[in-house]
C-alpha cells in the first residue's frame, strides 16, 4: 500500500527536490523560527513542571505553608501548572499562524519550481 497511493503532489518529488527545499533560505528561516519558539518554550515548561515534584518531594515543609485561607503553597503551585500549560498553548497557537504563512510561501514556490521543470 505504501507504493500505490502516491496521488498527491509532492509524493513524486525526488531526493534532489527535498535537498533543494531543505537548503532554501525560506525553509531554513521557518525551521529557525520554529526552533526559536519551541526550544525555549519546552525548556521553560520542563523546568517549571519538574520544580513541582522536586519542591513537593524535597521541601514538603515549604509546600505546606498556608497562603490564603487553608490553601497551601503546594496546591497553588500545582494549580499554576494548568495556567502555565495554558499560556504556552495559547502563545504557540499565536506563533504558529506565522509558521503557517511561511509554510504556504515555501509550498507555493515549490509548486512553481516543479511547474517550470515540466
Amino acid at each position: 500500500m505504501d507504493s500505490t497511493e502516491n496521488t498527491k503532489p509532492g509524493q513524486g518529488a525526488v531526493q534532489k527536490d527535498w535537498d533543494a527545499i531543505a537548503r532554501s533560505p525560506e525553509f531554513k528561516h521557518l525551521v529557525a523560527l520554529k526552533k526559536a519558539f519551541i526550544l525555549p518554550a519546552f525548556v521553560i515548561f520542563f523546568f517549571y513542571y519538574f520544580a513541582l515534584p522536586v519542591a513537593v518531594g524535597f521541601a514538603p515543609g515549604w509546600m505546606s505553608a498556608r497562603i490564603v485561607g487553608g490553601v497551601t503553597l503546594g496546591y497553588l503551585f500545582a494549580l499554576s501548572q494548568f495556567l502555565v500549560g495554558g499560556i504556552i498553548a495559547w502563545l504557540y497557537l499565536g506563533a504558529s499562524t506565522r509558521f503557517d504563512a511561511l509554510t504556504k510561501d515555501i509550498l507555493g514556490s515549490q509548486a512553481k519550481r516543479s511547474e517550470e521543470k515540466k
Binding site: 507504493s3 509532492g10 497551601t72
Partner: protein, 526 residues
C-alpha cells in the same frame, strides 16, 4: 439500579447506531484506520481527551486525592501537562510524516523491517497492559455497583470485551472516535455536575472546602488522626518519595506522548494544523477535568471521609460514593454508568490502535515487505487482530481476577511508552544522526528495562503479613520505587543515542532532509 441500567443501555444503543452508521460510511484503508481523515479539530480534541480520561483518571485519581490529598492531585497535573509535550514536539510532525501508526515515523528513514517489528511489539505490549487494566476495572466496578443484580465480574468483562469487538471490527476508527466523543461529553458533564454539587455543599465558598480539607479525620493503625489534605507527604514518603514523584512526572510528560492509542488519533484529522488545534481542544477539556478532580477528591475526603471510602469499595469508588452522598442513589447510578461507558470507550480506542499496528506495521510492512497482496488485506487483518486482541484481553482479565491491582498494569503501559516509544520517536524527528541501530537499541532497552524494574519493584515484590498475599514475589523489593521512569527514561534515551553513535547509516542521514521538509511543511502528507 434501573436508572443505572437505563443510562448505560442508552449509551450502548447510541454507540451501536453510530457503529452501524460508521460501518456503512467508512470505505477503504484510510477509512477504516484513520476515519477517512475527516475528523474536525474539536471532534478530535474530544476524542483525544476521551482516550486519556480513562477510568483510571476518573475513578483512580479522584480516589487517590480523597485518601491522600495533594500527592494524588500531582497525578492530575502530570496528566494535563503531558499535552504540552504532545503539542510542541509530537502532534504536527507525526501527522505530516505518517499514515496510520507511530511506526510510520520511525520507519521513515530506518531499515523498516526490524524497526516496525519492534514498534509493533511495544505497541501491543503497551495497549494490552492498558486494556487489561481497564477491563479489570470495569469488572470490579460492576461487581460492586450491581452487587444485587446477579451480574458477575466475568459477565461484565465479557460484556465489555464483546461490545468493544463490535465497535472496532465493524465501525473501525470512525465509530471508535465517535464513541469516545460521546463518552468525553458525558464524563465532562458528569464531573462538572459533581463539582457544582460539592461546591453547593460548601455554600459556594472555596474557603469552606479548603479549610475543611485542612483537617480531615480518619483512622490510621486504629488511631484517629487528622491531616491537612492540602499538604504533601501523605502518599510519597521519604526516603524515596521525592524520587518516586520525579519518576512519575517523567513517565507522564514523556509517556503520554508515546502512547500508541493517543498518537493514532492525530492521523484522523485532515492536516497538521487541525492536529495542532485538536491538541489545544484536548488540553482545554483535560485541564478543566483535572482541575475539577481536586474539587471532587477533596470533596469526597471531607463529605464521605477516607474511612468510609476504604470500607466501601476502596479508593476507586470515591467518585461514585461522593455522588451518592450528595444526590442519592440516582446520581450514584448515573455516575457509575458513565464510568462504565468510559471504560468501554477507552478499551475500544486501545483495541483499534493495537490492531492497526499489528496489521499495518507487522503484517503488511514486516511480513509482506510493505505491499498488500490484495486490496483491503490490511483492513481484514486488522479486523481479525481486533477480534483476537479482544478475546485475549477478556481471557487475561478473567484469569487475573477482580482482586488484581489494575493500576500496576496501566503504570507498566505508561512506563514502556515513556522509556521505549518516546525517546525513539523524538530522536527520529529531530536528530539527523539518528539511525536504525539507535531505534532498535532504544526500543528494546526501554521495553525490557521498564518491565524488569517493575517486576523487581514494590508492586510485585514485598513481604506481606500472614494471610494477605498482595505481592506476587514474597521478598524485599530490589528496586525501591513504584515509578520506574527516573531510571528507564534516561536509559532508553542513552541506549538510543549510543546505538546511533556506534553505527553508521548513510541512508538514514541522507533521508533526513526529506523528513525535515515533510515534517515542517506537510508536503506529500496524505
Amino acid at each position: 439500579m434501573i436508572v443505572s441500567l437505563s443510562v448505560f443501555v442508552a449509551f450502548v444503543a447510541s454507540t451501536l447506531i453510530i457503529t452501524y452508521w460508521a460501518a456503512k460510511r467508512s470505505r477503504g484503508t484510510s477509512g477504516y484506520f484513520a476515519a477517512g481523515r475527516q475528523i474536525s479539530a474539536w471532534q478530535n480534541g474530544f476524542a483525544v481527551a476521551g482516550d486519556f480520561m480513562s477510568a483510571a483518571s476518573f475513578l483512580g485519581v479522584v480516589g487517590l486525592i480523597s485518601v491522600k490529598g495533594l500527592d494524588g492531585f500531582l497525578y492530575s497535573v502530570g496528566g494535563f501537562i503531558a499535552y504540552v509535550t504532545i503539542l510542541l514536539l509530537v502532534a504536527e510532525p507525526l501527522r505530516n510524516l505518517g499514515k496510520y501508526t507511530m511506526g510510520d515515523v520511525l520507519a521513515f528513514r530506518m531499515n523498516p523491517r526490524p524497526v516496525r517489528a519492534l514498534v509493533a511489539i511495544s505497541t501491543l505490549t503497551t495497549t494490552l497492559f492498558y486494556m487489561i487494566a481497564q477491563m479489570v476495572g470495569a469488572g470490579a466496578l460492576v461487581a460492586l455497583l450491581l452487587a444485587g443484580s446477579g451480574i458477575t465480574y466475568n459477565q461484565a468483562v465479557i460484556g465489555v470485551g464483546v461490545l468493544m469487538i463490535v465497535y472496532v471490527v465493524f465501525g473501525g476508527m470512525l465509530a471508535t472516535t465517535w464513541v469516545q466523543i460521546i463518552k468525553a461529553m458525558l464524563l465532562s458533564a458528569c464531573t462538572l455536575a459533581l463539582a457544582i454539587l460539592v461546591l453547593r455543599h460548601f455554600h459556594f465558598h472555596f474557603g469552606e472546602l479548603f479549610s475543611a480539607a485542612g483537617r480531615v479525620a480518619y483512622h490510621q493503625k486504629q488511631q484517629l488522626v487528622s491531616s491537612n489534605f492540602l499538604q504533601p507527604g501523605l502518599f510519597y514518603k521519604p526516603p524515596y518519595g521525592a524520587f518516586d514523584l520525579i519518576s512519575m512526572g517523567l513517565i507522564f510528560i514523556f509517556g503520554t506522548a508515546g502512547l500508541p492509542h493517543i498518537l493514532v488519533k492525530f492521523y484522523t484529522v485532515p492536516d497538521a494544523k487541525t492536529a495542532r488545534k485538536s491538541v489545544v481542544w484536548a488540553m482545554f477539556l483535560i485541564g478543566t477535568f483535572y482541575v475539577l478532580t481536586s474539587v471532587l477528591g477533596l470533596g469526597a475526603a471531607v463529605i464521605v471521609g477516607p474511612d468510609y471510602i476504604l470500607t466501601h469499595g476502596g479508593t476507586n469508588m470515591s467518585g461514585p460514593l461522593l455522588a451518592q452522598a450528595l444526590a442519592g442513589n440516582i446520581f450514584l447510578a448515573v455516575v457509575s454508568a458513565v464510568a462504565f461507558a468510559t471504560i468501554l470507550a477507552v478499551v475500544a480506542g486501545l483495541a483499534i490502535s493495537a490492531s492497526t499496528s499489528f496489521a499495518h506495521d507487522f503484517w503488511v510492512n514486516v511480513i509482506h515487505n510493505g505491499e498488500e497482496r490484495r486490496p483491503g488485506e490490511s483492513v481484514k487483518v486488522a479486523r481479525i487482530a481486533a477480534l483476537a486482541v479482544g478475546c485475549i484481553s477478556i481471557a487475561i482479565a478473567i484469569l487475573v481476577g477482580p482482586a488484581s491491582n489494575a493500576g500496576i498494569m496501566a503504570l507498566l503501559g505508561m512506563a514502556v511508552a515513556a522509556s521505549a516509544n518516546f525517546p525513539v520517536l523524538v530522536l527520529s524527528i529531530f536528530w539527523r544522526r539518528f539511525n536504525t541501530a539507535g531505534a532498535i537499541a532504544g526500543l528494546s532497552v526501554g521495553l525490557l528495562a521498564s518491565i524488569a524494574l517493575i517486576v523487581v519493584g514494590p508492586n510485585f515484590m514485598g513481604i506481606d503479613a500472614a494471610g494477605v498475599a498482595r505481592h506476587l514475589i514474597q521478598a524485599k523489593p530490589l528496586f525501591p520505587m513504584e515509578n520506574v521512569g527516573i531510571v528507564t527514561v534516561p536509559l532508553g534515551f542513552l541506549a538510543a543515542i549510543s546505538g546511533a553513535l556506534l553505527s553508521s547509516d548513510p541512508r538514514a542521514q541522507s533521508k533526513f532532509n526529506e523528513l525535515i521538509v515533510r515534517a515542517n511543511t506537510g508536503l506529500g502528507a496524505e
